[in-house]
């Protein structure tokens, strides 16, 4: 039996750069930073006082009563999913729910709900803890709310693989359609944990940038002055669809999701493999799965989080798996690191790069590492034909995911 093609027919996002895909993409191409100082009182004593906060609050989109029952990560997943659904032309289309699945994950989940309700528990006792606490903090909450909103009855899945989550959720969506379990999968990631505890935790790992005085310059992948990642929040959602299903309804197609590669390091709980072995295998698998010529993959939206070790390991992996021809982008230089949403947001950037024939800029790359042997569109976007492109996402736990997108 021949394997069905899978295409992307809808995109939705709410990010530090904009409340939707169009504004986010415009800001990316303009090289704008979404990172700012955390001026909240709770941030005063933290070693890290910068983050990439949402450009548009979910309260501007969803009503107050609804928001009472949603963790922030759930609210923004819903916002992005509604956009993607409408963008795909599926709103009010009467799509059979039994042919619709959801695959939306989060890296950390409803941590801010957990912490806020714990404050209430300590201060006022157990009877004051909200009855919405569990559905707000459960890791499958965002996927479940999206499924409920769209009437998905072919399965609602919530991948959790730390910072690889968004990409792995998309890879799972590809599998679901190829396996014939759904015609349409709403897939992506969401994250909203800009709060003292997650920041303190990452900070204690020495994983975060402490460039508190220059927020916009703090996220600087591949630059010699980089000192860690900048935490971001947001959600990115894609509508994946079997190609013949999309064609039959005359849907606009952004790109083909040509292939995916998923591997695990079996090496260390947080450190990437010293030679990037798992990343190399993931990229190689994605390329083999995609049935796209390596030479056609001329652009990579890299994982590149701005950490001292990870950034350069990825360069080595790309070199080995792909060669020396692709032009790279590290859009985290602008958006910060959206953890479980990163792979989804960066897939959207990869898809739009293919559509528009432009590699988004990597800002703050003032003094590139000597080992940066691949080309990067530093500071300014670069216009070029992009027949196919790769998106990488790696996560604590040794998760490696690579996705190949191609022109429809």
């Amino acid at each position: 039996m021949s394997r069905p093609d899978v295409v992307v027919t809808g995109l939705g996002a709410t990010t530090p750069l904009g409340g939707d895909v169009a504004s986010t993409w415009d800001a990316m191409l303009a090289g704008r930073s979404g990172v700012s100082a955390l001026t909240q009182e709770w941030a005063e004593q933290l070693p890290v006082r910068i983050a990439a906060q949402l450009a548009v609050e979910p309260s501007e989109v969803l009503d107050r009563v609804r928001l009472r029952r949603l963790d922030r990560s759930e609210a923004i997943a819903l916002v992005a999913a509604q956009q993607a659904w409408a963008d795909a032309g599926l709103a009010g289309s009467g799509l059979d729910g039994e042919r619709l699945a959801v695959s939306v994950g989060s890296g950390i989940g409803g941590a801010t709900t957990l912490l806020a309700q714990d404050d209430i528990l300590e201060a006022s006792g157990p009877r004051r803890v909200s009855p919405h606490t569990i559905p707000m903090l459960m890791p499958n909450g965002p996927a479940a709310w999206v499924g409920l909103e769209l009437g998905a009855k072919a399965g609602v899945h919530s991948v959790a693989s730390a910072c690889a989550t968004g990409a792995e959720a998309i890879a799972l969506g590809l599998d679901i359609i190829r396996a014939g379990r759904a015609d349409v999968v709403v897939a992506g990631g969401t994250e909203a944990v800009i709060h003292a505890l997650p920041i303190a935790g990452f900070s204690s790992m020495r994983a975060m940038s402490t460039r508190n005085d220059e927020p916009e310059r703090a996220s600087r992948p591949w630059d010699t002055g980089r000192d860690g990642f900048v935490l971001g929040e947001g959600a990115g959602i894609l509508v994946l669809e079997r190609a013949d299903h999309a064609a039959a309804r005359g849907a606009r197609v952004y790109a083909r999701l040509a292939g995916a590669g998923i591997t695990s390091d079996a090496y260390d709980i947080v450190q990437p493999h010293a030679e990037g072995e798992g990343a190399i295998r993931a990229i190689a698998r994605a390329i083999a799965d995609a049935d796209v010529a390596k030479r056609d993959i001329v652009h990579v939206n890299a994982h590149a989080t701005s950490t001292p070790v990870g950034d350069m390991l990825e360069i080595g992996a790309l070199h080995k798996a792909l060669g020396d021809h692709p032009v790279l982008a590290a859009t985290k230089s602008m958006t910060g690191h959206l953890l479980g949403a990163a792979g989804a947001l960066e897939s959207i950037a990869t898809i739009l790069a293919i559509r528009d024939g432009v590699v988004p800029p990597t800002i703050n790359l003032d003094d590139p590492e000597p080992g940066l042997t691949l080309e990067v569109a530093a500071h300014k976007a670069r216009h070029m034909e992009i027949p196919a492109a790769l998106n990488n996402a790696f996560g604590f736990g040794g998760h490696n995911v690579a996705l190949v997108f191609a022109r429809p």
Binding site: D63, R64, V65, R68, R69, R127, R128, S130, P131, H132, P135
Partner: protein
């Protein structure tokens, strides 16, 4: 506190917790069937009512409070 005052107080809670229009709140209305208050929101309403009216509403009593009027009567008798 009069029954009207208790009803008004409940209407404020219902608006805050479940987005119920205060004009729709009347003694004859059922929380679930007329006002669309789901079970989790009903828990919030009860806890907020305990605080607002200074009463205790045990869990085994909540199932008997089908209508706004039932709740008003219970609160009136306790306070």
């Amino acid at each position: 506190m009069t029954r009207d005052e208790i009803t008004t107080g409940l209407a404020e809670i219902l608006e805050e917790v479940a987005g119920v229009n205060p004009d729709d709140v009347a003694e004859g209305k059922s929380f679930t069937d007329d006002l669309d208050v789901d079970s989790l929101s009903m828990v919030e309403v009860v806890v907020a009512a305990e605080e607002k009216f200074g009463v205790k509403i045990p869990d085994n009593e909540v199932q008997n409070l089908k209508t706004v009027g039932d709740a008003v009567s219970y609160i009136e008798a306790q306070s």
